[in-house]
């Protein structure tokens, strides 16, 4: 009975498809269902013209999928890119037309799966400057789009619900028989959010495992590399057709896929170790064979010509920690990703003292630190154990990462290297003073954010002291600190309303929101600071450093109510001007939220080590 129903449904689908096609063809001939007859007001029904139907093209879509799979299999089996290209001319259009068609997708990937995954290796050009012809690119694009669409599809209902892609195809994807070709389908496939996050996470793990196992992840070398220029060109080709990078990039775009990989409690640390590494570049080549024997008598020389590939890795690390803070499963994975990234970085610091991670990757580490600043501050005084948990162990609170002090120290030892990086990070912390003030007043728990920030600041200072920077470098550090402070103070404060009730976990979210614009590379660093400096004497410069954030925090928390005509505040934003200096000196002993203004400022200065 179910078989009969299915057959009947197929017939209906076929007839429906043919009818739709017939109308489509009729419209192409200029026919409209409702048209005006000459001289008669209103609309009349017009008889459609006769059309010829291509019965094959509109046949049951599963059959079409099967046929396309056979065409692909035959074309790729020929192992001649020239022939394959001709045979596959119609494939991209057919794949594109059936992107949302489950019958087609199931039949196509069941028939072509493992072979389609190796399409890139069959299609690449053996000579010439481009690795793929325009036709080959369109085949790879179509296959990538189809794979992404099929990866999102599910069949069956209830507990029988399962991925549409057959097990054999999924197994072939992760079996690593040709990771480079799989990577090319992902490279030419759609943007990361068009992929199923679990599917993309499986793919990422498979690629990283293949890379770790030393499998072929690079495009094939075309002919012998006879000159230094050949060898150098091949390195650039490797970078352009970097399969692992392509998959990492898509997973980063997807976001959740990156968090599935690094946020897994069992395997996340393993993959974090692979990513937090200085190996993200092309292998380079031995220049020896290209040197005259007079210059180079023989032996293997250190590789040269390596091309940096750390950008997708860095993007992936950022995406892995970028879930919205909260109680969701996504936030949980994000917090575990932070724990694992910190652990992996600390291990790297320990195993490779003196080796620096690529700049892009260190940038991601600072992004992690900025985003999870209050959590790092909470962790910093203890060394028990690491893990992600809900703040205060309450199921209504957001997920937070807790890392051992040893790990945080190793993390910052690697993340911060140059004086200006220390400066920028300290500036970021100082810019959070106002939030810390407001948070300490308003958070329903008895948590003291300002003091916790002070603990983290102490750690940063300890790490910096191991560098023994000279006086001149300290000037760079100071400049970077002020730039960061300015950028955050002018861009971050006031963007958030503190009028909402302070629920549990609100503070962590506010910290996070404020951290993001400050760590964005786009902030203005140059002339605004110069203009400010030109107009400010030393004392007002100091005012800008701590007192503005403190007063801002008190205003935000509703502890200070400026007069409507006060010129040092505009739309809730505190403005560092002469009127503010006057106001501060007049109110030094006035009590706000239980303590004097001077006490607030002193504590903030202490926490941020700003006392002169």
């Amino acid at each position: 009975m179910p078989g009969l129903i299915a057959a009947a449904l197929d017939d209906v689908r076929d007839m429906d498809a043919r009818t739709t096609r017939a109308y489509e063809l009729a419209r192409e001939q200029g026919w409209s269902a409702l048209s005006r007859a000459p001289g008669v007001p209103g609309l009349t029904l017009d008889r459609p013209p006769s059309v010829r139907l291509d019965w094959e093209a509109t046949g049951q879509s599963g059959n079409q999928g099967k046929r396309d799979a056979e065409t692909l299999a035959a074309a790729l089996a020929a192992k001649n890119p020239e022939e394959a290209r001709t045979a596959l001319l119609g494939l991209p259009e057919s794949l594109q037309r059936h992107l949302a068609d489950e019958d087609y997708q199931a039949a196509f990937w069941a028939g072509a799966g493992p072979l389609a995954l190796r399409a890139a290796r069959a299609l690449y050009e053996r000579t010439g400057s481009a690795l793929f012809s325009a036709e080959s690119v369109s085949v790879l694009r179509a296959l990538g789009a189809s794979l992404a669409a099929a990866g999102q599809m599910r069949v069956g209902t209830g507990k029988d619900r399962r991925p549409l892609l057959p097990d054999a195809t999924r197994a072939a994807l992760t079996a690593n028989s040709d990771p480079w070709s799989v990577g090319m389908l992902v490279k030419y496939g759609p943007e990361g959010r068009s992929w199923d996050s679990r599917f993309l996470a499986d793919l990422t793990r498979a690629m990283l495992d293949a890379r770790a196992a030393g499998k072929t992840i690079w495009p094939p070398a075309r002919g012998p590399l006879e000159t230094d220029a050949d060898a150098s060109r091949h390195q650039r080709l490797m970078a352009e057709y970097d399969a692992v990078g392509a998959v990492l990039q898509r997973a980063a775009e997807n976001g959740m896929a990156a968090r599935h990989v690094l946020g897994d409690q069992t395997t996340g640390l393993k993959y974090a170790r692979m990513l937090v590494s200085d190996s993200w570049h092309t292998p380079g080549y031995d220049p020896g064979p290209f040197l005259s024997s007079y210059v180079h008598p023989g032996g293997v020389l250190p590789p040269i010509g390596q091309v940096d590939l750390s950008a997708p890795t860095a993007a992936f690390l950022k995406a892995a920690v970028s879930a919205e803070r909260g109680t969701s499963a996504d936030a949980k994975e994000s917090a575990w990703s932070v724990v694992h990234i910190v652990q992996a970085t600390a291990e790297f610091s320990k195993l490779h003292p003196g080796t620096h991670l690529p700049e892009e990757i260190r940038g991601s580490l600072l992004y992690v630190a900025g985003r999870y600043l209050p959590d790092f501050a909470q962790s910093v005084n203890h060394n028990f154990a690491s893990g992600a948990l809900q703040q205060g162990n309450k199921s209504t609170n957001p997920w937070v990462p807790i890392n051992k002090l040893d790990e945080l120290e190793g993390f910052f030892t690697q993340a911060l290297q140059k004086p200006e990086e220390f400066g920028a990070f300290k500036g970021l912390m100082a810019s959070r003073v106002s939030v810390a003030v407001a948070a300490t007043i308003h958070d329903p728990s008895d948590r003291n954010y300002l003091r916790e920030m002070g603990g983290l600041f102490g750690l940063i200072q300890r790490v910096e002291n191991t560098h023994h920077f000279e006086g001149e470098l300290r000037v760079d550090e100071e400049a970077a600190k002020n730039q960061m402070l300015l950028a955050t103070a002018s861009g971050g404060f006031g963007a958030l309303s503190f009028s909402n009730p302070f629920g549990p976990g609100t503070m962590a979210q506010i910290f996070t929101a404020l951290g993001t614009p400050a760590l964005n590379e786009a902030f203005d660093t140059g002339h605004a600071l110069k203009a400010l400096k030109a107009n400010m004497d030393a004392s007002r410069h100091q005012v800008f450093q701590v007192e503005v954030p403190v007063v801002q925090g008190l205003v935000d928390a509703g502890a200070v109510h400026p007069r409507p005509n006060a010129s040092w505040v505009s739309n809730g934003r505190v403005i560092p001007n002469a009127a503010l200096v006057d106001w501060i000196s007049l109110h030094a002993d006035t009590r706000y939220a239980g303590r004097s203004l001077t006490d607030w400022i002193t504590e903030a200065q202490t926490a941020m080590r700003m006392q002169q």
Binding site: R447, R451, T466
Partner: protein
């Protein structure tokens, strides 16, 4: 009340972190954190044993089993939420700082 606690804690903070502003010598961070870890466990155990922590503060806390305090990340986040909470006349932070300063000679005074 909370703000008043802040003032007290600020003073403790000044004492505790004085070492960090000194650039000439590297503070014995490892030693300090080892003592601080041990001190926190002892302090919380002391307060729990003497009934100084209200039951509401302890419900569903995974680090407390059979009235025994177990060190771990769970204890760190609970401790953070109660840094300014007053138990037996002092904030938890003040208890921790005192016990750390006196470690390993510190004994529960209750």
């Amino acid at each position: 009340m909370k703000a008043k606690n802040l003032a007290v804690i600020t003073m403790c903070l000044l004492v505790l972190l004085a070492g960090c502003t000194e650039e000439r010598r590297s503070p014995p961070a490892d030693d300090e954190v080892t003592r601080r870890d041990a001190a926190l466990v002892a302090v919380v155990q002391c307060l729990v044993d003497h009934g100084e922590v209200p039951p509401a503060h302890l419900s569903h806390q995974p680090w407390l089993r059979d009235k025994k305090v177990r060190p771990g990340a769970e204890l760190v986040t609970w401790r953070s939420d109660h840094g300014d909470t007053i138990y037996a006349g002092k904030t938890l932070q003040a208890w921790e700082d005192e016990a750390t300063a006196g470690w390993p000679g510190w004994r529960c005074p209750l």
